[in-house]
Amino acid sequence: MTSAGFVIYATAGVALIGAGAFGLARARDALRRIVAINVAALGVLTTMVALAARGGGEADPVTHAMVLTGLVVSASATALALALVRRMAHLRGEEDADGHDG
């Protein structure tokens, strides 16, 4: 990867982290927070990809392994978070239904 490429990826990574952090600070509900954290996670991983190729020549496979692991973990955690959000909405729906009946 050329030096310009490194700069682009690194900048993109940092920008994504910033966007995610900003979104996290401004998030009002759980779903938005999850999305924000995902964006930030992608930012961190992109930065790592950039760091992997910094020295020029072959990209470092160990870092790529770390990035892949990070992606898998992030996906699983997001799945759990979404399941929790769905469950909470379901409970809220039940409560509303009860409220109407009662």
Partner: protein, 478 residues
């Protein structure tokens, strides 16, 4: 020793991880047999951990390379005294508290999550490089969130989501730090990082530390803990407060006093110490205002974690003496807190409420639970002859040894503060029951006796402080 035993011994570190891991999968596949599996694997895991600890005590630290593939591509495990002690502590608490868990439905993934959490803790404690630790922390986070969410009620789910958000953010910060570290040092193995220094390593340390602080609820990043530990079922709260939060603190100790010791960060270490004091005070203040017993106990964890973080500057200066003290404090806290949560759970189950104003008559109606709470309080406050006292004593001596006498004053003042908070919560239990209630003692259930047994473990750590500290300091920081 026969060669079979030697082979087994050589593979202990990986066995300690694999046993609960395989068990988690088995519990998922065979939910009906989950309780039985839990019991069997609990005993196996405890025996393995105990064996490892005994071996480390006698022969020193032990390493293991998974699959024979050497690092950096392979995974290396390293069991020194500190790790072995924590692994043993985890095994005992996981087995004992797990035996008391009563998930809502038998098809639940409760035991699966439980065993995943155990495996993850073993990974965190035994790993020898920063990235494996990340994997362990993630697994731990997911499993713990599942445990918190298991009651399925609105407050529990809400607390679980907050925990998850905090955990993920913490992991990201940690990962960022690890990436920086790798970029500047070229390796992530703890052994290789010992000579790290310079600005990138310092920045990496900062990121990783903040991430870990978030994950283990150290002030001021502790907001998710009281809700999560307060809403979880009692056995889950017991291990969450007992060992799960210790995983992050363990890593902070490692990084600051062992691995990245070369990084010139003494001022930052004192900042961490100050955060510890903040945790102590804030936790006490919030516990003073709490109205439910479980919330008081959860905020007490926030407070007690303050001691463990306060030890960081001492670990950097006083070395082994401080390590012995802080591990005594950590182990005593694990037992005492687990005992308190289990007892509070029994109170909640029997009386339908753990609000402080309804505690009157507890001492005559549920004497075993009340006694467990009392014994736990003795250790949390740090009164002799408990392990909490022994830990504080060693830390006070360490402070005097490095002429940092203000820490000694903080430890003693902290004891008085914890005493005030816990006595305020528990004194109503001594009041006579309202006239219309029976004041005969009811038969104590298994959870009450277990709570008492665990709390007595905290008391036993006082006299047993010698063996525990020998184990912990074996092969650890010089």
């Amino acid at each position: 020793m026969g060669t079979t035993a030697e082979t087994l011994l050589a593979h202990l570190p990986i066995a300690i991880i694999v046993i609960p891991l395989a068990g988690a999968v088995a519990c998922f596949v065979l939910p009906r047999a989950a309780r039985a599996l839990m019991a069997v694997l609990g005993i196996a895991g405890t025996v393995a951990s105990g064996w490892l600890a005994a071996d480390v005590l006698e022969h020193g630290a032990r390493g293991y390379v998974v699959g024979g593939w050497a690092p950096p591509l392979g995974i290396a495990l390293h069991a020194d005294g500190l790790a072995a002690a924590l692994v043993a502590l985890t095994a005992v608490l996981m087995t004992v508290c797990g035996s008391l868990a009563r998930p809502r439905r038998s098809g639940d993934a409760f035991f699966t999550s439980w065993l995943f959490a155990w495996a993850a803790l073993a990974v965190v404690f035994l790993s020898d490089d920063a990235f494996n630790v990340y994997v362990g922390l993630e697994l731990l986070g997911i499993a713990s969130v599942a445990l918190v969410a298991s009651p399925g009620t609105r407050p529990a789910l809400h607390a679980a989501l907050r925990y998850l958000a905090a955990g993920l953010t913490g992991s990201l910060l940690y990962l960022l730090g690890a990436a920086l570290l790798y970029a500047s040092e070229g390796t992530l193995s703890f052994a290789g990082l010992e000579d790290a220094g310079g600005a990138p390593a310092a920045a990496a340390l900062a990121f990783m530390t903040v991430g870990l602080l978030l994950k283990c609820a150290v002030f001021p990043l502790h907001g998710w803990l009281p809700g999560a530990h307060g809403c979880a079922p009692a056995p889950a709260s017991a291990v969450l407060s007992g060992v799960v939060v210790k995983s992050g603190i363990y890593l902070i100790w490692r990084l600051w006093s062992d691995t990245l010791f070369g990084v010139p960060a003494d001022a930052a270490a004192n900042l961490l110490g100050a955060l510890g004091v903040g945790a102590l005070l804030w936790g006490a203040a919030m516990a003073w205002r709490a109205e439910r017993l479980k919330i008081v106990i959860a905020y007490s964890t926030v407070s007690q974690l303050g001691y463990l973080v306060m030890a960081v500057p001492l670990l950097r200066t006083a070395g082994v003496e401080a390590l012995a003290g802080v591990m005594l404090l950590a182990a005593a806290h694990a037992f005492a807190k687990a005992g308190c949560f289990l007892a509070a759970g029994a109170v909640l189950a029997r009386r339908r409420s753990d609000r402080l104003e309804t505690l009157a008559g507890l001492v005559s109606q549920m004497p075993i639970a009340a006694f467990a709470l009392g014994v736990g309080t003795v250790s949390l406050v740090g009164l002799p002859p408990s392990g909490g006292f022994a830990g504080k004593w060693l830390l006070i001596q360490a402070s005097f040894a490095v002429h940092a006498w203000w820490w000694a004053a903080v430890f003693i003042a902290g004891s008085l503060l914890s005493a005030a908070v816990l006595i305020r919560a528990l004194a109503p239990a001594f009041e006579a029951a309202p006239a219309d209630c029976a004041s005969r003692a009811e038969r104590a259930g298994a959870s009450e006796w277990t709570a008492l047994a665990i709390a007595l473990g905290a008391l036993a750590l006082g006299p047993l402080a010698g063996p525990w500290t020998s184990l912990v300091t074996e092969g650890s920081i010089p």
